[in-house]
Amino acid sequence: MTTVLEVEDITKTYMMGEIPVNALRGLSFKVESGEYIAIVGPSGSGKSTLLNMIGALDRPTSGNLMIEGVDVSTLSDNQLADTRKNVGFVFQFFNLIPRLDARGNVELPLAIADVPRSERKKRTKEVLTSVGLEDRMHHKPSELSGGERQRVAVARAIVASPAFILMDEPTGNLDSKTAGEIMDLVKQLNEEQGVTLIVVSHDQNIGRQAGRTLHMLDGVIASDVVN
């Protein structure tokens, strides 16, 4: 197993005008390729902030973050953007583009990665089918239920076959049955294709599924438990 992620004493400080907010206060851990990690912790403990760092959306204030052996602090904005193409992100708030229908939203990462049109169409349909939305392809987000939107977001995260999938409360809006189906799907990707999976969730089932649980408290890791 290779180390795909190395977090070394990173901090993140947001400035609220003059007042600094320490969202992350020095935390370290390593992730091996193909791991399934659950991150839990109270609201405001810095889970989303950490996920943003891992997903190359933002740079830490201090400390080192190595994604697949590359220090993100050395990367240019363009290189950072390229790194994101290898990450499937499911945001805490769905973050779909309202103007595009389900298919358009799911197709977007492929279009950004310059995948040819015909292949894009095929792949998009496949993924939407796998999340059970083949008959909702032409619905805009506003025409979908909360759970359906969440599934579109998951479909968008997995469509480009990324090496990492990062999910922020992916099942918060779903009933336990649908939640189970979705998590089975990503678990399958994790097991069969060795996709590294990091999920922020309070869902007991996800906690049980995951191989390891990071417990966060006030911007640090309080416990790191291998199940």
């Binding site: 943003n52 997903g55 959306l57 933002d58 904005d77 363009n78 953007a81 390229d82 790194t83 994101r84 193409k85 992100f89 945001f91 973050n95 779909l96 583009i97 103007r99 595009l100 977007l108 990462p109 279009a111 950004i112 990665a113 310059d114 968008r156």
Partner: protein, 424 residues
């Protein structure tokens, strides 16, 4: 992202806000339409004038008058030209022949209608040898004309194009001239007989006009009781530009510089520079409206940027590069500018055509101007739409749209994805 995908993404964004995009496009349309309408009309006018002048003006003919033409109006000296000055002019080297022209405003009674027009006294033979357009359609110009003969322009037969014939060969016209003698107002009359009708000349020319009435110079001298003439037309032996200039100078010198000699080429140059100034001015005004449209675009792009901050965050989180975000926003402006420019060109040209049809009927139908050498009475302007105008207008519209979108687009591209995603 491939440019085709960038385009369809941008196009989708424009289409979503139809009302807003429509209004922005309208701004561009108004600016471009104004520019196109103005330039196509002035170009058309210039083409008309140059071609008609080119026909009507033989470049070996110059006009001597006490008026001076200039870009900033003309002046008139107290000097007067007399009938016999043609003798002086004819002696100058390089002059082939000359004809004195005496023009007066009179009242004409055609029996059925009275019309105020001007009547021109010329020596038929000399005039005809200078202006080839002084040829007859009906009747003939007598070599030794009777005192009461008059040659009329073709348009006087049917001035309103509706079959009302004012005068034909053989008809008589009562010419009355009202003038002042001492303190008294005196009216003089005489009856002239139409001996010939000229061939149609066309709108714009030096010399004979379709609305002119030509009486023998000697008749004019005795009827108007003067030897003063308005101008003398001079035909030179060559139309070489330098030669024309030298002889013109010689003529001016012969009158101690108190007259001015106008060559058609010089007149043309003056007129076209006047048109250039006018069109530059008008296009400048149209340009201001484009500037306003550009600020509108900038405003809308900034609003759109604020609204779509989250969308930009999503795109960046999915791995889109800053320059692609820039490209999307600029493409949106490009779409708006291009649609506006195309619609603007079509609208502007249609406006020009409508204007020229309207102005054509106005000039051609109602107004009967006098003979002033240059008559605009029958001039119709055909707007000219050149490839340069089309391309220039489109380029200008698109440039305005894109330039004003640069700043908002740049700001959008610089957004940090995390901040953008947190935007409510």
């Amino acid at each position: 992202m491939k440019s085709r995908d960038v385009f369809s993404f941008a196009f989708g964004a424009v289409r979503l806000r139809k009302m807003r995009a429509g209004l922005t496009i309208l701004g561009i349309v108004i600016g471009i339409a104004a520019i196109v309408a103005l330039t196509s009309i002035t170009t058309g006018l210039q083409v008309t004038i140059t071609s008609e002048l080119g026909e009507g003006f033989s470049s070996d003919t110059v006009t001597v008058s006490t008026q001076s033409f200039g870009m900033f109006g003309g002046g008139s000296s107290d000097f007067t030209l007399l009938v016999n000055d043609t003798d002086t002019i004819n002696e100058i080297d390089g002059v082939q022949t000359s004809a004195a022209i005496m023009s007066k405003s009179v009242m004409l009674d055609f029996g059925s209608t009275e019309l105020p027009l001007s009547v021109t006294g010329v020596d038929y033979a000399a005039y005809a040898s200078i202006y080839p357009s002084f040829v007859t359609e009906e009747g003939s110009i007598p070599e030794t004309p009777a005192n009461d003969s008059v040659v009329i322009g073709s348009r006087l037969t049917d001035p309103w194009d509706n079959g009302t014939v004012l005068a034909e060969v053989g008809d008589t016209i009562l010419i009355s001239w009202t003038h002042r003698v001492g303190l008294e107002i005196v009216e003089k009359n005489y009856t002239a007989e139409v001996v010939a009708v000229l061939e149609e000349i066309g709108g714009f020319s030096m010399g004979p006009s379709d609305l002119g009435l030509y009486i023998p110079l000697s008749t004019a001298q005795s009827f108007f009781d003067t030897d003063e003439v308005n101008s003398i037309a001079v035909k030179l032996v060559s139309d070489d530009e330098e030669f024309v200039e030298t002889v013109s100078q010689a003529i001016e010198d012969a009158f101690d510089g108190l007259v001015s000699v106008t060559s058609p080429t010089a007149l043309l140059a003056i007129m076209s520079s006047v048109f250039d100034i006018i069109s530059l001015f008008l296009v400048g005004i149209a340009g201001i409206s484009l500037l306003v449209a550009g600020i509108g675009i900038m405003n809308i792009m900034i609003v759109s940027l604020l609204e779509r901050t989250r969308e930009i965050g999503i795109l960046k989180a999915l791995g889109m590069k800053s320059r692609t975000v820039l490209g999307i926003f600029l493409t949106e402006a490009l779409v708006v500018g291009l649609v506006g420019a195309v619609v603007g060109v079509v609208t502007g040209y249609s406006m020009a055509i409508i204007f020229s049809a309207f102005s054509g009927s106005m000039f051609g139908g109602g107004m009967l101007g006098g003979d002033r050498g240059l008559s605009t009475s029958m001039m119709t302007i055909t707007p000219v739409l050149t490839t340069e105008i089309i391309l220039g207008a489109m380029l200008f519209g698109v440039l305005v749209a894109v330039i004003f979108a640069l700043y908002p687009a740049w700001r959008a591209s610089k957004l940090n994805p995390v901040d953008a995603l947190r935007h409510e």
